[in-house]
């Protein structure tokens, strides 16, 4: 049955079923090999592309490994102070209610220093999308413990493993914001398998659709590996993530109103 089709016959523009969206720039991503940030970036940009809203979309990325997101996302962007993206985005969205606004925040950023700004933006019901990349660690600064670091997990500031006695339990910001009336769509996803990627993208799409409908905060956590911080290969880190992160941070939709 095997037909002898040559590669050249397949690799033709008209046969292209997947290529890079024009809303990712040509700059090579600054992330470590296998880091989840890259895929998360792509999904947001694909959604913006597909919804054709790039002209009206502004992104807000605070510090963290994704501080240079503006080098890769081909839309207008503001770099925000550590933890303050929800406030910065609020300030913007209130004067530009018809623009699409998303923040892109790490767990150190959103769940530590930015706790107040996150909760209050969610509580006010700002009509924005919050993308929350939870890799359980401070990636950019060299793998320090984050509020999200799992019990027993080693990091450069919990070299013998996080203990509940010293640092408490890992904080589930997503569960918290889901309790607030200001959030309308709250979900936790991952980007480690093709099907996870598809689901994550759907959620991101929904979050932008929600903005159109003035629905308040859409909050999407993406559990991702920080293989450098975890000191594992990308493949192993994803396995570790499935085994250890997902039980504590279960994937799924927490709220959809």
């Amino acid at each position: 049955m095997t037909e002898n089709i040559k590669l050249e016959d397949i690799i033709k523009e008209e046969n292209k079923v997947f290529g890079k969206t024009a809303f990712l720039t040509d700059n090579p991503l600054s992330y470590c090999p296998g880091c989840g940030h890259g895929t998360a970036h792509r999904l947001i940009m694909e959604v913006i592309d597909e919804m054709d809203i790039a002209e009206d979309t502004i992104g807000f990325a605070p510090v963290g490994c994704a501080v240079l997101a503006y080098d890769f996302m081909n839309v207008d962007m503001q770099q925000a102070a550590h933890g303050r993206a929800p406030a910065v985005a609020t300030g913007f969205k209130r004067v530009y209610p018809n623009k699409y606004v998303f923040t892109y925040q790490g767990d150190g950023d959103l769940a530590a220093i930015g706790t107040a700004e996150t909760i209050h933006a969610c509580n006010r019901g700002e009509n924005i999308t919050i993308i929350f990349i939870n890799n359980g660690i401070y990636g950019m600064t060299g793998g320090q413990m984050a509020p999200t670091t799992l019990i027993g997990m080693k990091s450069s500031t919990s070299p013998y493993g996080r203990t509940q006695e010293l640092a408490g339990h890992p904080l589930k910001m997503t569960e918290i914001v889901a309790t607030l009336p200001g959030t309308r769509f709250v979900a936790r996803h991952a980007v480690h398998t093709p099907s996870a990627v598809r689901k994550a993208k759907k959620a991101i799409r929904k979050s932008f659709e929600n903005q159109k409908d003035n629905k308040g905060v859409s909050f999407i956590e993406i559990v991702a590996n920080c293989n450098s911080g975890w000191k594992m290969t990308p493949v192993v880190s994803n396995e570790w993530m499935v085994e250890n992160m997902f039980p504590y941070y279960p994937l799924g939709t927490l709220k959809d109103e």
Partner: protein
Amino acid sequence: MTEEIIIAGFGGQGVLSMGKILAYSGIMQNQEVSWMPAYGPEMRGGTANVTVIVSDGRISSPILTDYDTAIILNQQSMDKFESTVKPGGTLLYDPNGIIKHPTRTDINIYKVEAAKEAADMGVPRGFNMIVLGAYLKIKPIVEVANVGKGLKKSLPERHHHTIPMNEKAFKRGLEIVQTVSALV
């Protein structure tokens, strides 16, 4: 005596710890030392370099713009540091991955096939000790015995089992360094 050295290569080649061992070796013979890395987020998987100064007297600036010796371990570093060797100074490099070899004629140039040798010896982590051996062969600023002591000091207890391997690699470095072009 003051020797001002830049060691430059990829992250992961052991550039920083090589500098540390060298500095510790200096301490073992009562010299003043300083070790100043270039730091930054690009360190991760990117380039790494460290300035080491070993001196009989007080060290002023730990940061330099030209050096008595440059130890160069990849092409990027060659591009950046070949020109920073003082006239009459020394450049030691590993030719592995080097496309544009050094061309200066006012300095002493040596090479050491450390990457290849480390692979051949089956001790990839011994790479930097081979380079260090090569360097100290050319410029015996610290005594070999003190390198052993410095090595021990610079390693945390739990890594002391690697000392024999490292010493073997170091000795190999002493042997295999080659002169490319020496002044006079």
